[in-house]
């Protein structure tokens, strides 16, 4: 029987405090970037911590701690997206595409970024926003490095087509 759930101040709950202290901002920002709203990000962050609390147990992640935590976070976000896919409405899509000039479209970069599939969003966030290496991202996302590089180039090309227009 797991008594840690009956006593919130037990050792199990204390084990996630280092995670919150060290990676809390990173995880919360990742959740908010993918889920679009702070409210949903807080709920996702709480469920992520619960999952980490259950999976970590008495022994923490010794090696590749950040990679394992981010991998767990990405799995949670994938499951959340599968259950509640968040997509822009048709009117929002039209508003995005109705921007006349490139500067206006760059100003709506977030909207175009959220058009990308979840895997591409996670890849670009981990690589370009958080500066994580491809080797670590390969562990996080469970994809080979070569595939990650190709996918990154494809995601950037899709964003380029939306913002600068499709060229032959």
């Amino acid at each position: 029987m797991n008594f840690s759930r009956l006593f919130p101040n037990s050792t199990a709950s204390e084990s996630i405090e280092p995670i919150v202290r060290q990676y809390g901002d990173l995880l919360f920002d990742l959740c908010q970037s993918v889920l679009w709203s702070s409210r949903e990000a807080q709920h996702a962050f709480r469920s992520l911590l619960k999952g980490l609390q259950r999976s970590r147990g008495a022994r923490g992640f010794q090696d590749y701690e950040r990679a394992c935590i981010l991998r767990f976070a990405c799995d949670q976000l994938r499951g959340r997206d599968a259950r509640h896919p968040r997509r822009r409405s048709a009117s929002e899509q039209l508003e995005l595409d109705s921007a006349l000039g490139v500067p206006q479209r760059l100003g709506r970069f977030e909207g175009y970024f959220q058009r990308l599939p979840l895997e591409d969003q996670l890849l670009l966030l981990l690589r370009d926003k958080y500066g994580i290496s491809f080797a670590e991202i390969a562990v996080i996302l469970g994809t080979p490095e070569g595939s990650l590089k190709v996918r990154r180039q494809q995601a950037l090309r899709a964003l380029e087509d939306w913002i600068w227009g499709i060229r032959s």
Binding site: E40, R46, L156, E160
Partner: protein, 315 residues
């Protein structure tokens, strides 16, 4: 290096992770290919935009108490995002089944009401009778006339002239040559005293009606001949179906469609043809040798016509 090769290495080129020989080839290609050069610039802008995006920090309440801090309520936005397809299958399937069953039960329960509504619509046909008078058996009493008077539809002087009346003298008729009056002192006349002098205006003939006349006689075959002559004199074409009457178990039946205008004359003439009741049955229910009633036809009857059924039975 061509454009395809450059694009395959674009990610490493952006990060500066290409080996020197390949980097020099990529630089040379960019100096020659404007498209790839533009693409590289666009990629650089995108990467810079991503890296320069502000990072959200963890809210202070959650940082202090990650597991116990109150979270903002999802509220209306959660409800807006609620979609039927998002519900788990063990909730969705029973609800869909219940909805389907409720639809089936509502259709089954509504079917009798729809039929009743349809029947009422049929009963409200122009010139139609009140459906409460359907198959209402009378013996020529006033009750028929107390119903909501339905105008005699389709009766016109032209039609009346097409079927001229003629004098018929039936055997056993007590009264004289005045065919407008029925038997004067005949107790067997089923009509009340008011009906002995029944004339055409006293009865109203409407659309989709069946007029039944029942005669009892000791010689049905002879009465059959009188009725055939009666109908012929009233202008019913000989080609009319069943004009000559058919023999059925229990008697002889005439069943034909005739113009509405001749119904009163037929009634009057048949009333005159009706024989008196035998003495032994006087003042008993069996003394009625002539009865008539009308009802609403469930089958369609041509406009301005009525169905005429004359039944001759053996006393």
């Amino acid at each position: 290096m061509n454009c395809f090769d450059w694009q395959n290495r674009a990610s490493d080129y952006l990060d500066g992770a290409l080996p020197t020989p390949q980097r020099e080839e990529a630089d040379e290609h960019l100096s020659q290919c404007q498209d790839c050069l533009d693409r590289y610039r666009h990629y650089r802008i995108l990467v810079d935009t991503l890296s320069s995006q502000p990072r959200s920090s963890l809210p202070v309440p959650i940082r202090r108490a990650p597991m116990s801090a109150p979270l903002p309520r999802r509220g209306i936005s959660f409800l807006r995002g609620l979609q039927w397809s998002r519900l788990p299958w063990h909730l969705r399937t029973p609800l869909e089944g219940l909805a389907l069953l409720s639809v089936v039960f509502s259709v089954i329960s509504a079917a009798p009401r729809i039929r009743e509504f349809y029947q009422r619509r049929l009963a409200r046909d122009p010139g139609g009778l009140d459906p409460s008078f359907e198959d209402f058996t009378l013996t020529g009493s006033e009750h028929v006339l107390t119903s909501p008077p339905s105008p005699v539809a389709g009766t016109s002087s032209a039609e009346a002239e097409a079927f001229p009346h003629s004098t018929i003298k039936a055997p056993g008729q007590i009264m004289g040559g005045d065919e407008s009056a029925g038997p004067l002192d005949d107790d067997s006349a089923p009509d009340g005293p008011d009906k002995t002098r029944a004339a055409a205006p006293e009865i109203r003939v409407g659309d989709s009606e069946i007029w039944r006349f029942i005669l009892k006689t000791d010689n049905p075959a002879e009465m059959r001949g009188h009725i055939v002559r009666l109908l012929t004199d009233l202008g019913v074409p000989p080609s009319t179906v069943r004009e000559a009457g058919i023999e059925v178990p229990g008697g002889i039946e005439f069943d034909l469609i005739v113009p509405q205008g001749i119904i009163p004359d037929i009634k009057r003439k048949l009333q005159g043809l009706a024989p008196p009741a035998p003495r032994e049955f006087a003042k008993t229910p069996a003394s009625e040798t002539f009865t008539w009633y009308k009802s609403k036809s469930r089958t369609p009857v041509p406009k301005h016509r009525s169905r005429l059924v004359i039944w001759i039975s053996q006393i």
